[in-house]
């Protein structure tokens, strides 16, 4: 979903609204305990200069993955990766 003229805070609020709205949708006609939840990844292109299309997809996808990782039914905003991989540096040395 592509939001025009939105900042990250607004996008987050919007995503949360969506998430709750889907979570509370009445689906009892299929089964009594039936509920559908969604995970949402959010990315903003605000400062990105080049390649924003690819960047957006990559970033939103990463955030979505994180949301899933956090136990689903979640909204996550893209943050740069935070884990080191010391092995990969040996190629550069």
């Amino acid at each position: 979903m592509l939001l025009s003229s939105s900042d990250l805070n607004a996008a987050f609020a919007f995503a949360e609204r969506l998430r709750t709205s889907i979570e509370t949708t009445d689906l009892s006609r299929f089964a009594t305990d039936f509920r559908v939840t969604v995970s949402i990844g959010v990315a903003s292109s605000k400062f990105q200069l080049r390649n924003s299309q690819e960047f957006l997809f990559k970033a939103a996808d990463k955030a979505l993955y994180k949301a899933k990782e956090l136990g689903r039914n979640n909204t996550v905003i893209y943050r740069p990766p935070n884990t080191a991989n010391p092995e990969s540096i040996t190629a550069a040395v």
Binding site: L3, L18, I22, I40, L56, A60, K62, N82
Partner: protein, 906 residues
């Protein structure tokens, strides 16, 4: 006594005419050496003589034939492919004649052969085995024989004049040098002689009242004094005095001498390698053991490469912008990681084998007793009070003071890890970057920082103190900085998700910017506005993983990487960032520029150092490479000459020495050509153009061949242009033209055309008469036919009108159908949302227009959707999808875009 010791040196410097210091020759051991042997196409490894013809080819005489070199490969002429060498392929000597247009080669049994107009011929004969050969300005060939005789042979006639005899010359002639009046100087195994144009012979040594000496090489210096290469070094004959040129050469047997265009004297010895006497004194080439072989001949080509013929192959010495110190020049290891300039201008080299010092162009052992000298070094930094901090791969951190061991720190002493990749010593603290966090050493001991303490990553690669006293820390996952307040903070690169490794930092006094060398390009940070810009491969750079960053004294960035070293001007980078230019004009330096390996190192220590004298030093996987940016002009060679190597017409090689006429039934024309640059043949770019056939110049960098099939008859001009390095279109101009003619087929000739035209005209006249007679008959018949056909036409018109009506109806149906299809092509049929294709198109439009305000992309995925499908059914799954789509639609504003994107809806 003192005077006598000085004298040789005085003469030594008088070899060199007044040259400015700016033209100072390159230190001999900085020359880049390349070598060729039988493995690379030479017919034999013993090189008897080297020469170059005016077309640009280099010629090499061997015992198994004569090889012509175009910079890439050798074409060998021998008994297998040429009748001239039918009796023997052993070529003992070569020389150029007629302003270097022709080549003369003598074979071991006395044949004098000439290569002229692209073919060999036997022009004369001498007794066997000429070792020395000279062609004078009257095109007489002088041959010095193993028997001791010197023979003058005329190229044009048959006259052979025999001079001297073995008794007098004392044995084999090794060297012949022409004088200005048609005579020659001859060096033999016993003495040196002058033979005048009137064939008067005199002994050079005896004339001066001196003892004769074996003389293997004779030259004239720029003062017209004779230089004599003997079995006891080099002497100069000044008047009647014989003066030793350099005491360093005493006792050495000189095999060959060459005075190069810079007036340096090259001296080859029988078993002691190659020497050079120049402004820089007497030097011996020790950079490569290949030149310890017997030196047979030395030659300077038009591009000032020095070619050396040895009994172990052909060598080329070239002045390159980079000069590389390796293991063979004394380094402990070739894998270099860190460089430091010491206060006295020496360069400290830290490698996988330990520490060395480069002082005045020479590798010396690091004068310290400490064990650290032989450890695998990762990083080095100078500190206060002559401190030298050294980081190792496995042995932690060591402090030396005035080269004495003071202390070493390991993990057990509180250091974050024993692998120390970067060190920064400030006035009161030492920052130590390790493979597992940052350690800060102060009077109160170590304080360690890892991810949980606010580090962007634990694997520290680089450190830097900027002029505002901020300490910058580059890790494998981002940047930290410590500002004056002493707090460690993360430096966010959220807008650059492709940047992970920060290998280096750069700033200068002239501009406010700080530059980061990263694995995804160069970043420019403005500390005032906090703007960051990225310069990567989109700027047309050949690669954008940069290990090291430095700037030379004329405003060029130097960026080192795995694919070589890039030079790009700072002002261009600024213009690119400002959007004024779309591409950066860079120079890429690699193996042909004197690097032994273009793979630069990084990720630890300081991979580039700029010395106070302006020189730049680079750590590579194969040694330390030094660049004097002032010497860069050496690589700006003018365009190399171009040669047509072969013209093959329907499988047959054509004689290029004659005007070329090709038969009318010619099918296939192959043109083989070559840029005859001997300096860096791999960097030659060629462009070709066949007038009237090619619509534009055609580039050939690798394949020096053009093919044409079924060319029509006519006159053809094939143009070739060549240049070192990349061409710009406006620089194109042909430096070689191949012309040839394809004859017309017999029906394309003029006489055939006239005969055929006359025949056709009379035939047409005959037909005309016949027709006139027929026409009258036909007229009556026609009248009848016209009436019938008018009726038929009316019937056809009616039926056509009916068809046209049906067609309009059908078209309208098709239009409605296609509108439906178009909608289907952009929509997901299940949810009624846009599909992926439509979404991508909209995103690409919006990304372009909405840049200022920014966009947000949400990817939404239904949790455990597969389970829903499995547990209920696919039709329930479809309904859930529709429900979610509905929820999305009802929460959305008009300006937002929703689509179902593949397996997911986003």
């Amino acid at each position: 006594m003192q005077f006598w010791m000085l004298l040789p040196w005085m003469f030594l410097f008088s070899i060199i005419t007044k040259q400015s210091l700016a033209n100072e020759p390159l230190p001999l051991n900085d020359y880049h050496l390349e070598s060729w042997t039988t493995k690379s196409g030479l017919p034999h490894n013993s090189i008897n003589a080297i020469s170059q013809t005016s077309d640009g080819y280099l010629w090499v005489a061997t015992w198994e034939g004569i090889a012509r070199f175009n910079g890439r490969d050798f074409k060998v002429f021998n008994k297998k492919n040429n009748d001239v060498f039918a009796k023997t392929s052993a070529i003992s000597a070569i020389a150029t004649c007629d302003n270097s247009n022709n080549l003369i080669a003598t074979d071991i049994i006395g044949g004098v052969n000439q290569f002229k107009n692209n073919s060999w011929s036997k022009i004369n004969k001498t007794p066997p085995f000429a070792r020395a050969l000279h062609c004078d300005s009257f095109n007489n060939v002088w041959a010095g024989l193993d028997s001791g005789e010197t023979i003058k042979v005329s190229v044009s006639g048959n006259s052979n004049i025999f001079l001297g005899d073995s008794e007098r010359s004392g044995g084999a002639v090794y060297s012949i040098l022409g004088d200005s009046s048609g005579g020659v100087w001859v060096g033999t195994v016993k003495s040196a002689f002058h033979i005048s144009d009137t064939l008067t012979v005199s002994d050079v040594y005896q004339q001066a009242g001196l003892q004769s000496q074996p003389t293997f090489s004779i030259l004239k210096d720029t003062n017209e004094d004779l230089l004599l290469g003997t079995n006891d070094g080099v002497y100069r004959l000044k008047g009647n005095d014989l003066v030793r040129l350099s005491p360093k050469l005493a006792g050495l047997t000189v095999s060959y001498m060459l005075l190069d265009s810079q007036h340096s004297l090259w001296v080859g010895t029988i078993n002691n390698g190659l020497y050079r006497i120049s402004q820089l004194g007497v030097e011996k080439y020790t950079s490569n053991p290949l030149l310890n072989n017997r030196i047979i001949t030395v030659f300077e080509d038009k591009e000032h490469n020095i070619w050396v013929g040895t009994n172990g192959g052909l060598m080329k010495l070239r002045q390159t912008p980079f000069s590389t110190f390796t293991n063979t020049r004394g380094l402990k290891s070739d894998f270099i990681r860190s460089l430091v300039e010491l206060d006295n201008g020496d360069v400290l080299v830290g490698s996988s084998g330990g520490i060395d010092v480069i002082k005045d162009n020479e590798v010396l052992p690091f004068p310290s007793e400490a064990n650290i000298v032989n450890e695998s070094i990762l990083s080095m930094a100078k500190g206060n009070n002559d401190a030298l901090w050294i980081g190792t791969y496995t042995e932690g951190l060591t402090l030396l003071r005035r080269n004495n061991f003071i202390k070493s720190y390991k993990r057990v002493d509180g250091l974050a890890a024993d692998e120390v990749r970067a060190i920064l010593a400030t006035d009161d603290k030492v920052y130590v970057g390790t493979s597992d966090g940052l350690s800060i050493l102060s009077d109160s001991g170590f304080e360690n920082f890892r991810i949980q303490d606010g580090m962007a990553g634990n694997f520290v690669l680089s450190m830097f103190q900027s002029k505002d006293d901020t300490v910058w820390i580059g890790t494998s996952t981002g940047i930290n900085r410590i500002r004056k307040n002493g707090n460690l903070e993360k430096f966010e690169l959220i807008d650059f998700p492709d940047v992970h490794f920060i290998f280096g930092f750069y700033e200068n006094d002239e501009s406010p910017f700080i530059w980061f060398a990263t694995d995804a390009g160069l970043l420019r940070y403005n500390p005032v506005t906090e703007d960051i810009f990225q310069v990567n491969q989109e700027a047309d750079l050949p690669f954008d993983k940069f290990f090291g960053i430095e700037m030379d004294s004329i405003g060029n960035f130097w960026l080192s990487g795995n694919q070589g070293i890039l030079q790009v001007s700072e002002s261009q980078v600024m213009e690119y960032i400002d959007g004024k230019i779309q591409k950066l004009d860079y120079k890429l330096f690699g193996e042909s520029d004197g690097l032994i390996s273009k793979q630069s190192n990084g990720g630890a220590g300081t991979p580039i150092v700029k010395k106070r004298d302006g020189s730049l030093w680079f750590a590579t996987a194969k040694g330390v490479s030094k660049l004097d940016p002032d010497k860069l002009k050496i690589s700006n060679l003018s365009g190399p000459p171009v040669a047509i190597e072969e013209l093959i017409v329907d499988g047959v090689s054509m004689d290029l020495g004659q005007p070329i006429h090709l038969a009318s039934d010619t099918e296939r024309v192959e043109i083989h050509f070559s840029g005859l640059g001997l300096a860096t043949p791999e960097s030659i770019h060629l462009a070709t153009f066949m007038e009237g056939i090619d619509s534009d110049w055609v580039w050939s960098t690798n394949r020096n061949l053009r093919e044409y099939n079924n060319l029509p008859a006519g006159h053809y001009r094939f143009l070739i242009a060549a240049k070192y390095g990349r061409f710009k279109n406006e620089e194109l101009s042909a430096s070689q033209i191949l012309e040839f003619q394809i004859h017309p087929k017999f029906w394309e000739t003029k006489s055939f055309f006239i005969t055929a035209s006359l025949l056709a005209a009379s035939f047409l006249y005959f037909i005309h008469i016949l027709r006139l007679r027929n026409i009258t008959k036909l007229k009556a018949k026609l009248h009848k036919k016209v009436a019938y056909q008018t009726k038929e036409l009316q019937r056809q018109t009616d039926s056509l009108q009916e068809i046209s009506f049906q067609k309009t109806k059908l078209l309208e149906e098709l239009r409605l159908q296609s509108k439906k299809f178009e909608k289907m092509a952009l929509e997901d049929p299940l949810t009624g949302l846009l599909n992926r294709r439509a979404f991508d198109a909209i995103l690409s439009d919006k990304a372009a227009e909405q840049n200022a305000q920014g966009l947000c992309l949400l990817i939404l995925d239904i949790d455990n959707f597969k389970m829903i499908n499995d547990r209920f059914s696919h039709s329930v799954g479809d309904e859930v999808l529709a429900c979610v789509a509905h929820a999305l639609k009802s929460n959305c504003r008009d300006e937002d875009t929703i689509a179902r994107w593949g397996g997911r809806s986003s």
